[in-house]
Amino acid sequence: MDSLPIFLRDHAESQLLPWSRQVEAADHFGVALAQVEEIALERGILPARYQRNRQAIPVSDQLTMFRSSVAVIGCGGLGGYVVEELARLGVGRIVVIDPDVFEEHNLNRQLFSTPANLGYAKVEVAARRVREINPAVTLVPIQEAFSPANGTELLKGCQIVVDALDTIQVRLELAEVCSAMNIPLVHGAIAGWFGHVATQFPGDGTIQAIYGSWKEGKGVEQTLGNPSFTPAVVASLEVAEVCKLLIGQGTPLRGRQLVIDLFSMEMQVINIGEGHRETA
């Protein structure tokens, strides 16, 4: 094992470790690809697959990302894209929670759905996909519905939670659990050509503010449906928030909600922070 760092140093090209060498090191030293990745990053050697992350994400931040654990609640329209992007970004541990199997009406938009995957658990398909695209990161599939009863256990050890749910009631419950556990929550929701994104820090009550007028049932997605492009846009915005939070750079959507209208091609930011308490 002592010679693994020497192997990596000797086989890195301009501080980049080619994938073939990462696999060779794992085989030769009998360790996991993930372990090779961590040891390389600790020594400032970047797995070459991340070379286009550079500038946006320096090597030291890539290590932070690799040591991070992010939970994605829901593995449908938003969740599929979120998982894909987190895995390519190099987030080391991704916990995905969803009770459902793929159905035909998912095929218009859900990234991991294919005719061959119909009937298979979404989280299992996600795990397979992540093993294909980045075997150095770990996907933890949990085929359960998130609830206040299991939430605390499922989110244990996660630094960030991503809301990719499709019901408002569970979103409100998730927001409560995240606040109680002191975990930031990146929220996204979609319907038709429209969506919104916001980041709730513990105690901010952002999700409660957004859904303050909700009483029961679904939102307008029930009539508007969900075309292919809206989840991709909103999920990508959510992952950008996660990336900033993990590396502590940039300005997150805290106390603000980004409202997206792809039909009029308008995006605007509205204040949630102090504004959400009704004025007399």
Partner: protein
């Protein structure tokens, strides 16, 4: 009194993006939603002059009311 209403997302279909119209004194957010045929179950964020409000809030002359639909999909 005159109130400016700004509609967002799906609320614009068959209505308008922004409209200033006369409303009687005492009009509430709920009254505006009814007049525009917006189902209460579809109402998400409601803001007057960039401050969040609830359905029973009474409008004043010159107010700008913004209405967003409730989005819950994922």
């Amino acid at each position: 009194m005159n109130v400016t209403v700004k509609l967002f997302a799906s609320f614009r279909a068959g209505r308008f993006d922004i409209e200033t119209a006369y409303y009687p004194v005492g009009t509430t957010v709920s009254d505006v939603a009814d007049r525009l045929n917006l189902p209460q179950s579809e109402l998400g964020i409601m803001m007057i002059n960039n401050r969040h409000v609830k359905l029973d809030r009474t409008l004043a002359d010159g107010d700008i009311l913004a209405l967003f639909p409730l989005l819950g999909g994922g």
